[in-house]
């Protein structure tokens, strides 16, 4: 009798452990499956175009010629614009929230910034099409064009739609990510170091510049890379405002295309196997890039935000 109940006791535990183990393994399985499907689907393209697929600059489904360079260009440039806008903004927010804001204001303000992250991408897109794009067309591009029009970057007719609008909308979307991670990183800067600096007669800003920011440097870098990864893979809002034209133009006012946006646009209408495979191959490139960036960002953020926390806990 006693032996039997002990056995049941043990079996319950083993089964439970097994289920948990399987669930954990399924996560690994999902990622491997995604990778496998992409590699499998991309095979046709890579056998036909070889590695030149990534360097070809012509994307022409009608003639069956596929080069991903314009998509890679659009993806990278729109994300870099986003990062250039979002990084200073997010750092400002993180500094304000950790160093300067009165305590009662910190909670509500970070809540509002996080709210930006809760808004669905497609709603950003809708707002982008009907609010942001007209504003870019009537205000931003004419001003930039007349002030900096001598640069090829800011030449051309203001369409509103295009690379610049995509960059701006991406900046808004990744600001909550970057600011939240940098805030966490800045929060673990040792209080004593800041107080020492202030006691030496430094101003608040000097303390931030010489103690706080250097201490959090690699974490902030991680946050920026994390934001960049988000921007690279962001789909709906970009698809709706970037104009969807797979060509490389020097001007930021021109229509462009990203890997994610071309997949959203053409995938369900791809009219033959090669076209479909080319889109999957582009997806594979995006997957690999975002995977590498994420791994890098995680390692950087872990090093800063985890180690000091563990030390103080012990």
């Amino acid at each position: 009798m006693e032996k039997k109940s002990y056995k049941a006791w043990l079996e319950g535990d083993i089964a439970f452990r097994g289920f948990a183990y399987l669930a954990a393994l399924s996560l690994v399985g999902v990622v491997l499956a995604i990778l496998w499907v992409l590699v499998e689907g991309a095979q046709l393209t890579f056998t036909k175009f070889g590695p030149g697929f990534a360097l070809g600059s012509r994307w022409d489904p009608v003639h069956g010629v596929f080069g991903a360079l314009p998509l890679v260009y659009g993806t990278v440039v729109s994300s870099l614009i986003a990062l250039a806008i979002a990084l200073p903004l997010s750092l400002g927010i993180a500094i304000y929230l950790t160093q300067l804001a009165p305590h009662w204001l910190r909670g509500p303000v970070s809540f509002l910034v996080e709210l930006l992250a809760a808004i669905p991408s497609v709603v950003y897109g809708l707002w982008g099409v009907f609010v942001l794009v007209p504003w870019v067309r009537s205000s931003v591009e004419p001003v930039l064009g007349s002030a900096l029009g001598f640069l090829p970057l800011f030449k051309g007719a203001p369409y509103g739609f295009g690379m610049l609008a995509a960059g701006i909308i991406l900046a808004i979307m990744i600001t909550p990510t970057i600011s939240a991670v940098s805030r966490e990183v800045l929060l673990v800067v040792p209080r004593s170091q800041q107080e020492a600096m202030l006691a030496l007669g430094a101003t608040r800003w000097e303390t931030i510049r010489m103690v706080v920011l250097p201490y959090g440097r690699s974490g902030i870098l991680g946050a920026a890379i994390l934001g960049l990864g988000r921007a690279l893979g962001e789909t709906m809002a970009v698809t709706m405002v970037i104009g969807n034209r797979p060509q490389i133009f020097p001007s930021l006012f021109e229509l462009a295309q990203t890997i994610a946006s071309i997949i959203a646009n053409e995938f369900s209408e791809a009219f033959n196997d090669l076209h479909l495979s080319a889109l999957v191959a582009a997806g594979l490139i995006l997957f690999v890039i975002t995977l590498l960036l994420n791994i890098m960002a995680r390692l950087l953020v872990w090093r800063v935000a985890r180690v000091p926390q563990g030390v103080t806990r012990e």
Binding site: W9, G12, D13, F16, R17, A20, Y21, L22, A23, A24, S26, L27, V28, V31, A33, I34, V37, L38, G41, P88, S90, L91, I93, Y96, V113, L115, L116, A118, I119, P120, S121, V122, V123, G125, L126, W127, F130, V131, T175, T203, W205, I208, R230, L232, G233, T235, M236, M240, A260, I263, A264, F267, V280, G283, F287, L293, N294, I295, A297, R298
Partner: protein, 297 residues
Amino acid sequence: MASGQGAPGGDQGVRIGRNQRRRIVDRTMGVLSVLATVVALIPLASILIYVSAKGLSAISWDFFTKLPKPVGEPGGGMANAIVGTMILVGLASAMGIPIGILAGIYLAEFGRGRLAWTVRFICDVMTGIPSIIVGIAVYGTIVVAMKRYSAIAGGVALAIIMLPLVTRTTEEMLKLVPNSLREASLALGAPQWRTVVSVVLRSAAGGIITGVMLAVARIAGETAPLLFTALSSRYWHTGLDQRIASLPVYIYTYATTPYEDLHRLAWGAALVLLALVLVTSMAARVAGRRASGGNRG
């Protein structure tokens, strides 16, 4: 602190000037950081104002009860998309939540060594995989195998997106549960599974529910993976193996048409979706705050 303009030139003057400059820089940077925060919140205000103003004018009884009409015919609603979004989120939750919680339990209770590290790492990396890639993968497996777009495929895609979020919050929450609770339960002779399910999970329930609700809010607005898994439909949903309408996909398709009427409906759909998402994530936060407050007290 010295203030005002000192004597021009001379040691004294230079020092005062420098101090003044330092103070000005300090103030300026302070103002700039406030400005950054304000600038970041302008789009939030703009989106909320536009969506509620334009959305409200599109919302009527018909919006919640009628099917969409063909272009040109006035009226029509999005009842099928509202129901469809609920069904998709429900399907995804039914798959993603149990697996996610179990995986979280593994990481917090049993996970040691290399495998646990790998799973944790993959989890973090998975949250960064673009959702459209998940869509392609589900298309390549389920849609191709079933030979049709379906609610199931859409649900699986959304489940994959919510999985790492649920796993990581579960793990974090379980780790906050003090070990003495586990030891007490084990000492009373409860098997480990019993300890985890009725003692550990229970005391971490508030935090886990918060994480789950945030994940639900997140997937409710996902569009990209649905474009080629669930696709869309103009009719009532008829079965899980059929394509299904959803609010996000409707917003996308209607916003990119040239028709005023459809734009109006898109704003209406955006208002409903945003309300759904924001209410869920705010409720999650409130629940989380209450739960964590309770635990500490």
